[in-house]
């Protein structure tokens, strides 16, 4: 690939999952091949240096990287020290640091939190801190790798506002890798679209790229900014059933919600605390009927994930009671629980138990389910032929999540609880996921999904339960659409 970003410009990199977007960022920073295995060929110059031949850290000293996972990129214990860390590494004097750090912290909207432990910040605050730490050193280039993927909508829009003001200052070149194109597209001076094999589809101004290559991008599974998806010409490939050509659901594809019968799943006065005295959930009452599709929404840390694990029976409530088809799910034998409920973890990697994709999906299955697994993986775009022998830990974020979903779906459970099922999904991955979920829902499966993804809520939910600070604050029928 070839491209050139003018100083102070903003390059947006889009591409389907597994197309090498993250690798590009790491290569620009010189972390490939220095820290991570890989090979970089061709001509590469970042802020006047070739990352491959410049000394260790020489390029890193002139640029800043922000990764996707907020938790693992903060090094020091406290906000102030973490901002200082990058400056210390660059050899700033103490006086320079003392004057610079408060400015950087307040610029990120974190004023007053200087001594707060970084692991006590919300995901949104952590991500703004990561950016503050990077910007404090006034780097000439900032590379952001899906910086808002783990954030709730408020956290994400805050982050993008911060990015917009950075761009308008015009002194920093921005390379932004992003799936959420609605917010990112307006910031871009230049768009690089990568195909599934990592070769560029197109590069140019946002308008030119959309005009020239919207079809090819759509076919490769790249999200396009809103407005274009409905007005642009459709791709030639057949879309999944129940969608129009761009993966937007056609209204008829949404089955009416099943009439409310006796609840399949109910929670009465449920509370939960990981540590005594600091409850993360309190007084949760919820009754879910067959065929209901519940979206759990709310800010990071509001208790969505914990409620999901309670409903499946992975945790036992510390107060109140949960009934799933008449039984307390946390007391079921594992064999029975596995047949009733499927669950996808927010961090799918944390739930992998084997060394290959094939073993992972087959783990604990009987012969009938084993026979169904290959077709399921095929539909989730993880065909056994290509992926079967790969390590589950070496998948892209979107692929790992689809594998985790396959493990949950393969037993045909009556209850599906999904924690952020759409993180990192490109358009084709998303469409495949939606298609498969809809089929299960038509068979009367009950769905609970904790999600920040407003598109997913609009596409699938029949009921929206909003949580805040461990309580249900709103429970309404109908999707957000």
């Amino acid at each position: 690939m070839s491209f050139e970003v003018p100083a102070g410009g903003c390059l947006l990199v889009v591409g389907p999952s597994g197309s090498g977007k993250s690798s590009l960022g790491l290569a620009l920073a010189g972390l490939i091949p220095r820290d991570l295995p890989g090979e970089v060929s061709g001509y590469l110059s970042v802020a006047g240096l070739d990352p491959r031949t410049a000394g260790p850290g020489a390029v890193a000293a002139r640029l800043g990287l922000v990764f996707q996972d907020p938790g693992s990129q903060l090094v020091m214990e406290r906000v102030e020290d973490d901002v200082a860390f990058g400056l210390e590494n660059r050899g700033w004097s103490r006086a320079e640091m003392t004057s610079r750090i408060p400015v950087a912290i307040s610029g990120a909207g974190l004023g007053g939190l200087e001594r707060r432990r970084t692991n006590r910040l919300s995901g949104g605050q952590q991500q703004r801190l990561a950016l503050a730490g990077v910007l404090a050193a006034s780097p000439s280039v900032v590379i952001l790798d899906e910086p808002t993927a783990n954030l709730d909508p408020d956290g994400a829009s805050d982050f993008f506002r911060r990015l917009a003001s950075l761009r308008s200052e015009g002194s920093t070149t921005i390379v932004l890798v992003e799936h959420r194109v609605e917010a990112a597209w307006p910031l871009a001076d230049l768009v690089l679209a990568l195909g599934p094999d990592g070769t560029p589809i197109d590069i140019g101004s946002p308008e030119d790229v959309l005009r020239r290559s919207a079809d090819r991008m759509a076919k490769a599974g790249i999200w396009l900014p809103d407005g274009r998806t409905s007005s642009g010409p459709g791709p030639s490939g057949p879309g999944p059933s129940g969608m129009d050509a761009h993966g937007t659901p056609t209204p008829s594809a949404i089955a009416p919600a099943a009439p409310p019968g006796s609840p399949v799943l109910s929670a009465a006065g449920v509370g939960f605390a990981y540590e005594r005295g600091s409850p993360v959930l309190a007084d949760v009452d919820l009754a879910i009927g067959a065929g209901e599709r519940v979206a759990l929404v709310g800010p990071n840390g509001s208790g969505k994930s914990t409620l999901g694990r309670l409903l499946v029976g992975l945790l036992r409530p510390t107060a109140g009671q949960i009934r799933s088809s008449g039984a307390d799910p946390s007391r079921l034998r594992a064999r029975d629980l596995a047949l009733r409920a499927g669950y996808v973890f927010q961090d799918p990697e944390a739930g992998f138990l084997t060394d290959t994709v094939a073993d992972e999906v087959m783990l604990g299955l009987g012969p009938v389910e084993r026979a169904a697994a290959p077709a399921l993986l095929e539909r989730l775009r993880l065909p056994l032929g290509d992926f079967g022998a790969r390590s589950p830990y070496r998948l892209s974020g979107g692929e790992a999540r689809r594998l985790s979903l396959a493990c949950a779906l393969v037993r045909q459970p009556r209850l599906l609880v999904l924690d952020e099922p759409t993180f990192g999904q490109d358009r084709l991955g998303y469409a495949g996921l939606l298609d498969i979920l809809r089929r299960r829902l038509d068979e009367g499966v009950c769905l609970v999904a904790a999600t920040h993804d407003e598109r997913f809520v609009a596409d699938i939910a029949s009921r929206i339960v909003r949580m805040d600070a461990g309580r249900i604050i709103r429970d309404v029928e109908g999707s957000a659409a």
Partner: protein, 253 residues
């Protein structure tokens, strides 16, 4: 006790709180070496009492918190002392002086002395360790190790990041067990859980290392935002520590 937490400002601003962490470590090590030279019961008692009183007076540690910190290791010390006394080889020696005889158990003077000596030394170690932990901020410990003891920054700050990640182990383990339950597999322990934990720990370590390098770690000699300098206080604590050890060893004779 292993989870990183914030100390109260009073503890951090106390005399022991402001003392160089490296110096406190050095005093503790010298005390432990001193204890290893004797099996008498006097020296460890003196050192344990001095450590606890110093912790509360010049370390401003709330007594309740200090008690909570020493309890686990003290209980272990009591258990160890008990078993080493009751089941010591010396008890079988017919020529030894019997102190007590309870049913089939005979306790000799030699066994009692070595059991109590061992227990008291552990109690002293527990007290000194608790006072160190409850007056030392972990970030300052890392800064001090780098600036005053010449420890490699990569090691010190890497260890600090790892220390912060300790709570993750518990979460990772819980998630892996839940993942097994979701596949209909038996609960309890399984070797695969260890493999999974190891994989997740290594991946987390890789990510932190990557994050450090991405922030220009090692690109040039580092400067320090928080400088840890030697001061008169450190000299005082060093002299005080040496005097206490000398007195303890002398008193115990």
């Amino acid at each position: 006790m292993i989870v990183a937490r914030d100390l109260a400002p009073a503890q951090l601003d106390s005399i022991l709180g402001r003392t160089s962490p490296v110096l406190k470590l050095a005093v503790a090590v010298v005390w432990f070496v001193g204890l290893a030279t004797t099996i008498r019961i006097g020296p460890p008692m003196v050192l344990a009492i001095v450590a606890l009183v110093a912790g509360m007076v010049v370390g401003r540690i709330p007594p309740r918190e200090l008690a909570r910190a020493v309890t686990p290791i003290w209980l272990a010390a009591l258990g160890l002392a008990f078993f080493n006394t009751v089941f010591a080889a010396a008890n079988a020696d017919p020529s030894a002086v019997t102190v007590a005889q309870v049913g089939p158990f005979r306790i000799t003077e030699a066994a009692l002395a070595s059991g109590v000596g061992l227990g008291l030394r552990l109690i002293a170690v527990g007290a000194v360790g608790a006072v160190f932990i409850l007056t030392t901020d972990s970030t300052r410990l890392a800064d001090s190790l780098v600036q005053q003891a010449g420890l490699s920054p990569r090691f010190a700050y890497g260890a600090l990041a790892a220390y912060q990640a300790v709570p993750r182990f518990g979460e990772d383990l819980a998630t892996l067990r839940q993942a097994r339950r979701l596949r209909g597999l038996r609960g309890g322990w399984h070797p695969r859980l260890l493999v999974g934990l190891l994989v997740l720990a290594i991946r987390h370590g890789d990510r932190v290392a990557l994050a450090m390098d991405a922030r220009a770690f090692g690109s040039r000699p580092r400067t320090h935002y928080r400088e840890v300098d030697w001061g008169w206080l450190d000299l005082g604590v060093a002299v005080g520590g040496a005097v206490v050890l000398a007195v303890a060893l002398a008193l115990g004779s």
